[in-house]
C-alpha cells in the first residue's frame, strides 16, 4: 500500500532536538485525527527512540538522526528512526526491561515503552553501522460528521 502522505527529517543528535523531534512527528501524524491518548503514546515512543540515538548510538559524538514518517489510508502510521552510530551488540539484552548500558540515570525502559505504547516495534542493528527502530500504530477510526 502506498502512503497517503510522508515526511522526512534529519537533525544532529543534540539533546535539545528531542522535544523538536517528538513535536514534529506528532504535528505531522495529527492529520490522521488520532485521539489525544494515541497522540501522546506516539510522542512518547518517538522521544524514546530519539533519546536512544543520542545516548547510545552517538554516545561520544554528534551524528545525524533520520526520521521517516509515513501515513496510510486506514489510519496506520509508520515511523522509522535511524542513526549511523555504534549499533547494539546484544539486541536481546538491550530490549530487556530495566537493562541499561548507560547506567546511573537511565531507567532502561526505552524499548519497553516503545513496545507497549505502539502496536508494533521492530529493531534492526549492526555493530559499528547503526540502529533502525520502526514504530507502527493504527489509530482508531473516528466517526465524522460533515457540516
Amino acid at each position: 500500500m502506498k502512503p497517503i502522505n510522508e515526511m522526512h527529517l534529519r537533525f544532529p543528535s543534540v539533546s535539545a532536538n528531542e522535544a523538536f523531534a517528538r513535536a514534529a512527528v506528532s504535528t505531522f501524524v495529527a492529520q490522521l485525527d488520532p485521539t489525544l491518548d494515541e497522540l501522546c503514546d506516539t510522542k512518547t515512543a518517538v522521544s524514546e527512540a530519539v533519546t536512544n540515538c543520542i545516548v547510545h548510538g552517538y554516545r561520544d559524538t554528534i551524528g545525524t538522526i533520520y526520521i521517516d514518517c509515513a501515513l496510510y489510508e486506514n489510519g496506520r502510521v509508520v515511523i522509522r528512526v535511524r542513526d549511523r552510530g555504534c549499533g547494539i551488540e546484544n539486541l536481546k539484552q538491550a530490549m530487556e526491561p530495566l537493562y541499561s548500558s548507560a547506567g546511573g540515570e537511565r531507567a532502561g525502559l526505552g524499548f519497553a515503552v516503545m513496545q507497549s505504547f505502539m502496536d508494533k516495534l521492530r529493531v534492526q542493528s549492526r555493530p559499528g553501522q547503526g540502529t533502525t527502530v520502526v514504530l507502527e500504530k493504527t489509530f482508531s477510526p473516528r466517526v465524522h460528521t460533515n457540516g
Partner: protein, 120 residues
C-alpha cells in the same frame, strides 16, 4: 507569550519545610530537561538531607522514561541517609508510564492526579 511557569529555564521549584523537601516539576521531562531538574534537586537535597523528598508532577505535560530514571536516581540518593521519595499528583496521561516502570516498589506513588484536572 508563553506562560513563564512552563518556561524550560525553570523546570523545577523547590521548597523546604520541616524536613520535607518538595520539588514542583513543570513542563516536559525528557533526557534533555531531566538534567537541569536533577542538578537543582540534588544540590538542595544533598545539602539539607531531608527525611522526605516530594516530587510533584501536577504541572508536567509530558514525560518519557527519562522521568522514570530521574525518580529512580533520587530514590537512590535519598536512600543514602534513609530518606524517602514520594511521587505526587501524577496526571492521568502519565499514569501509564509510571505503572509500567514498577516504581511503586521503590518509592511511594500517591493515588490521585492533580486537583485542577477536569478532563478524563
Amino acid at each position: 507569550m508563553e506562560d513563564p511557569v512552563q518556561n524550560t529555564a525553570c523546570p523545577v521549584q523547590l521548597r523546604l519545610k520541616e524536613n520535607t523537601l518538595t520539588a514542583w516539576l513543570c513542563g516536559e521531562i525528557d533526557h534533555h530537561t531531566a538534567r537541569k531538574i536533577r542538578e537543582a534537586v540534588d544540590e538542595a537535597a544533598s545539602r539539607v538531607r531531608p527525611e522526605r523528598l516530594i516530587l510533584d508532577f501536577s504541572a508536567v505535560q509530558f514525560m518519557d522514561s527519562s522521568g522514570i530514571g530521574l525518580i529512580m536516581g533520587r530514590c537512590k540518593l535519598l536512600a543514602a541517609w534513609n530518606g524517602r521519595v514520594i511521587v505526587r499528583h501524577v496526571p492521568p496521561k502519565l499514569e501509564r508510564i509510571v505503572s509500567l516502570s514498577g516504581l511503586q516498589t521503590l518509592c511511594d506513588v500517591e493515588e490521585g492526579g492533580p486537583r485542577h484536572e477536569t478532563d478524563q
